[in-house]
Amino acid sequence: MTAPFPFSAIVGQTAMKQAMILTAIDPGIGGVLVFGDRGTGKSTAVRALAALLPPITAIEGCPVNSARIEDCPEWAEIGSKKVVSRPTPVIDLPLGATEDRVVGALDIERALTRGEKAFEPGLLARANRGYLYIDEVNLLEDHIVDLLLDVAQSGENVVEREGLSIRHPARFVLVGSGNPEEGELRPQLLDRFGLSVEVRSPTDIEERIEVIRRRDAYETDKGAFMKRWRSTDTKIRNRILAAREALPRITTPESILRDCAELCVALGSDGLRGELTLLRSARALAAFEDDTTLSREHLRAIAPSALSHRLRRDPLDEAGSATRVARTVADVLG
C-alpha cells in the first residue's frame, strides 16, 4: 500500500476539506457528499483523510472494531481481550458490490468445509466507527442504496437470511462522491448526507499550476514529499483531536437556535434535519476554530454545505441552490 497524497497538500477546495474535517470532529453530523467534475481531487481527498485521521483503539480481532469487550458481537467469538490500535477504517464500497458483500452473509467456507452456520461480516461491519466511501454514489444500485439508508439511520445492521439472525453495530460516516452529469441522486439519499459540497476545477492559473507541481513532486519522490507535509498533517490531526475534546463545552446562545430555525424556514427545507445538522456542524466548526461560543459567523460559514442539498427543486430558479442559500443567509442573518 503506497502512502496516499497528504491531506494538507491538497490545493484549494477549502469547502470540501472543511466538511471532511468537521465530520471527523463530530461523526454525528452524518456524512459528506462531494459532487463535482472529473479531475477535481474528490477521491484524492477522501483517501488522504483516511491517512490523516488519528488511530482508534479496538479489541483485537473484533470484526466491528469494538472499543470494549462487551461491545463485541457474540457471533464473532472473540478470544482475546487485548486492545490494539488500528487506523480509522475507511472502507470502499465498490459500485458493483453485491448485497452479500455489503451486509455480510453466511460464511461459505465454514458452511462448505465444516457444515457450520457462521456469519461472515460484510463491508458495513468493517466500516463501523469509521468511514464508508462510495465513489460514484449516484450510480449505485437502488437496492443497495435502500439498504445503506436503513443502516445509516439506525446505526445497526440486521441480517435475517439463510437461517441466520445476526445484528451488529454499524455506525459510520458516509462519504459519497459523484459527477452530477452522469446521474442524479435520489432525494431520500441526498437528505441523509449531513453536508454537501460542490467542487470545481480551480480557475486561477497559479492555483492550477500549484496542483500539478505538488502532484508531480508526489509522484516523482513519494518519500520526500510525505516528509515535507507530515508536520502540517500532524497539525491538522492535533486540531481535530483538540476540537473533539472541546466539542461538549461549546455553548449555544438562544439567539443562534432562533437563527437556525429562521434560516431553515426561509429556505423551506423539508423536515428538521436541516436545523439539526446546521447546529451540529456549526458547533464542530466552532470547536475547530478554538471558539467557545457559537456565533453567527459559524452559521454563515457552514450554511451552504449544510443546507444546499435539502432544498426543494425550483425548476424556474436557474441559480444553483448554493446561491439561493447564500442569498437567504444574507437576508436572515444580515
Binding site: T2, D37, R38, G39, T40, G41, S43, D92, P94, L95, G96, T98, E99, I108, E109, A111, L112, T113, G115, K117, D135, E136, L139, H143, R161, E162, N179, E181, E182, G183, S201, P202, I205, R208, I209, V211, I212, R213, R215, D216, E219, T220, P315, L316, E318
Partner: protein, 560 residues
C-alpha cells in the same frame, strides 16, 4: 507525409511513450473499427512490459476481482478461490469499450486510481459519434488515438527497440521538469478549455517519458510540444481565445480530408506558447468544431439520436446479471443462477431435514432475471394554434404532423400533441401510439386567440419530464410563429410574455430535452432564432412550406 500517415506515426509514438511509463500514463483509448490498422496496432502492444489481460463490457465482478470457484469447491470439499483477472499489475485490454456501462467504468477507474501499476487499453469500436467509450475512463487515459479510415498502405512498418525502451524506463525517474514547463502546460490546458487537472498532469508525464526516451537531461521545449500534441487535442473544448467564433450549428461532420480547419485565423499578439498551440492545432481532428461542447451545457443536451435512453426492466432487452429477490409475479426467475445459489447448501439442508426429497431450495436462493432495454422515443408536438399563427399555416402544420405520425408509427415511436391558444396550453393528446386517435384530434384542432408560448413550453417540458420518468425518451417539436403575447399567468403583456418563454426555453435546455423549432411565420423572425438557441434546439425557418417539406425538415433535424 499524408494525413493518415501522420496519424499512424502519432499513434505509434503514443504507444512507445506508454511502453516507457505504463503506470503513470495509465493507457490509451484507440478508436478504430476492425481493419489492418487496428490489427497491426494490437500486435504492437507487446512492447508494453505488462502481462496482457482481455476484458469485455459484460465481464462479471467474479472474473474481475476473483471469487469462489464453485465447481472446484464442491468437488474438493475445500474452498477454492479463483484469482481475479486484475489482481496483479497488467495491461487490461477492454474490447468494445463503447458498450461498457458506467458501473464497469467506475470499477476500472477505481483500479486505475489505485496506482497499482495497471494500464488500460480501450478499444472503442463506435460507429456513430454518439457511441463512445465511457468518459470516466477516457478522461483518465493519457492518449486517444483515432485510426478510423486508415488502410494498409498508410501503415509504415514500426520496430520497437526493446533495449532502448528498458533504458528509458530506468532513466524516467531522474528527468527533472522545471516550474516553467509545468506553468506552460497548465496555461495551455486552460486556453484549450480543458477543465480537468488530469490533462496537464498526464501531459507532464508524457513529456517526461519522451525526454527519457530521447535521453534528454531535462524536459525540453520539444518534449513539451510533443506531449501537448498527443494529450490535449482530444480533450479540447475550445480553440484558443483569439479565435472566438462560435461553433457552427450544423450537424454534418466536416469532410475528413480538411486537415487545417483551425488554421484559417492566425493568432495575433505575443503569445509565449505559440509553438505549442500550433503543435496542437495541426493535430486537432478536422471535425472538432462540431464536437466542441458548448460550455455550461451537458453532453446529453445535444443527443437526439434515433434510439432512446437505456433503462432497466425485468421483461425485455439485454440481460443484466440476475439478482436476489422475491417472486412477485412480475419478474422471471433465473433458474440457473437460483440453482447455483442453492447448490452449496444442499448437504447442510439435507442434514437439517433428512426426510425431504429432491433439491432443497429456500426463498433466499431465488435469483431474478433483469434486463436493460432501449426505451421508446416520444415525439411531443407543440403546435401554435393562435390567431396570429394564421389559419392557413395551421393547416400546413397539421399536414406535417400527419406525415410524421405515419413515420412515427412505422418506427413504433410514441407521440403526444399539445396546442396553445387563447390564454393557456392544452394537452390534446397524452403520449400514445394510436395513429387514428391522433389524426382525429388533429383534424378537429381549432385555431384563434392569443399566443401563450410560455404556457405551451411549460406544458411540453412537464410532459417531457413525466415521460422520461416513465422511461421514454422525449423529443420536442415546436411549431410556432413566435409572437408570444400572453404571459405565463395568462395576462396580455408582450414583453413579459417574451421573457417568460425565454426562461422556459433555458429550462428545457437545462433539462437536456432535445428538440427543434419550426418557424411558420410568413417572414423568419429573429426572436424565434434566439429562442431556439436558448432551447439548444435547431431552428428551421419555413416561409413557404408545404406539409411535405415541413415533414422532411423535421425528419432530417431529428435524425441528425
Amino acid at each position: 507525409m499524408s494525413e493518415a500517415g501522420d496519424r499512424w506515426d502519432a499513434a505509434c509514438l503514443a504507444l512507445r511513450l506508454l511502453a516507457v511509463d505504463p503506470d503513470g500514463l495509465k493507457g490509451l483509448c484507440l478508436r478504430a473499427r476492425s481493419g489492418p490498422a487496428r490489427q497491426t496496432f494490437l500486435t504492437l502492444l507487446d512492447a508494453i512490459p505488462l502481462p496482457r489481460v482481455k476484458l469485455h463490457p459484460t465481464i462479471t465482478d467474479e472474473q474481475l476481482f476473483g471469487g469462489i470457484d464453485l465447481t472446484a469447491t464442491l468437488a474438493g470439499e475445500k474452498i477454492v478461490f479463483n484469482q481475479g483477472l486484475i489482481e496483479n499489475p497488467s495491461m487490461m485490454v477492454l474490447t468494445m469499450a463503447e458498450r461498457a456501462g458506467s458501473d464497469l467504468a467506475a470499477k476500472l477507474a477505481q483500479v486505475l486510481d489505485g496506482d497499482k501499476g495497471h494500464c488500460l487499453i480501450m478499444l472503442d469500436e463506435g460507429a456513430e459519434p454518439t457511441e463512445h467509450a465511457p468518459p470516466a475512463l477516457t478522461e483518465r487515459l493519457a492518449f486517444h488515438v483515432d485510426l478510423d479510415g486508415l488502410g494498409a498502405r498508410d501503415l509504415t512498418p514500426v520496430l520497437f527497440d526493446h533495449e532502448s525502451l528498458t533504458a528509458a524506463r530506468a532513466r524516467l525517474a531522474h528527468v527533472p521538469a522545471g516550474a516553467d514547463e509545468v506553468a506552460a502546460l497548465v496555461t495551455l490546458a486552460a486556453r484549450f478549455g480543458i477543465d480537468s487537472l488530469r490533462a496537464p498532469l498526464l501531459a507532464l508525464r508524457t513529456a517526461r517519458a519522451n525526454a527519457a526516451l530521447h535521453d534528454h537531461d531535462r524536459v525540453t521545449a520539444e518534449d513539451l510540444a510533443l506531449a501537448v500534441s498527443l494529450v490535449y487535442p482530444s480533450r479540447a473544448t475550445m480553440l484558443p481565445a483569439d479565435e472566438d467564433e462560435a461553433p457552427p450549428e450544423t450537424d454534418q461532420p466536416a469532410p475528413q480530408e480538411n486537415p487545417k480547419e483551425g488554421d484559417s485565423n492566425e493568432p495575433s499578439g505575443e503569445i509565449p506558447d505559440e509553438m505549442l498551440i500550433e503543435a496542437v492545432r495541426a493535430l486537432l481532428p478536422a471535425h472538432l468544431l462540431d464536437q466542441l461542447v458548448p460550455a455550461g451545457t451537458t453532453r446529453g443536451a445535444s443527443g437526439s439520436g434515433g434510439a432512446g435512453a437505456r433503462h432497466k426492466g425485468n421483461r425485455r432487452g439485454r440481460p443484466l446479471p440476475s439478482r436476489h429477490g422475491r417472486i412477485d409475479g412480475t419478474s422471471r426467475i433465473d433458474l440457473v443462477a437460483t440453482l447455483r445459489a442453492a447448490a452449496p447448501w444442499q448437504p447442510m439442508r439435507r442434514r437439517a431435514t433428512p426426510l425431504a426429497k429432491g433439491l432443497l431450495i429456500r426463498p433466499s436462493d431465488i435469483r431474478l432475471k433483469r434486463y436493460e432495454e432501449k426505451s421508446d422515443r416520444l415525439l411531443i408536438f407543440l403546435v401554435d394554434a393562435s390567431g396570429s399563427a394564421a389559419m392557413s399555416r395551421l393547416g400546413e402544420a397539421k399536414g406535417a404532423v400527419e406525415i410524421l405520425l405515419a413515420e412515427a408509427y412505422a418506427r413504433r415511436d410514441h407521440v403526444a400533441l399539445i396546442t396553445f391558444r387563447g390564454v393557456a396550453a392544452e394537452v390534446l393528446l397524452p403520449p400514445t401510439r394510436s395513429l387514428v386517435q391522433t389524426k382525429r384530434r388533429l383534424a378537429t384542432l381549432p385555431g384563434g386567440g392569443g399566443t401563450p408560448l410560455a404556457s405551451g413550453l411549460k406544458a411540453a417540458s412537464e410532459l417531457a419530464l413525466h415521460a422520461r420518468s416513465r422511461g421514454l425518451s422525449p423529443t420536442l417539436a415546436l411549431l410556432t410563429d413566435g409572437r408570444a403575447n400572453i404571459t405565463l399567468e395568462g395576462s396580455a403583456d408582450r414583453t413579459q410574455a417574451a421573457m417568460d418563454s425565454e426562461t422556459l426555453a433555458r429550462l428545457i435546455r437545462a433539462q437536456a430535452i432535445p428538440g427543434l423549432v419550426l418557424d411558420m411565420s410568413a417572414r423568419p423572425q429573429d426572436t424565434l432564432r434566439v429562442l431556439a438557441a436558448q432551447m439548444g434546439a435547431p431552428y428551421l425557418p419555413l416561409p413557404r412550406a408545404d406539409a411535405k417539406r415541413l415533414s422532411s425538415a423535421i425528419s432530417s433535424a431529428l435524425e441528425g
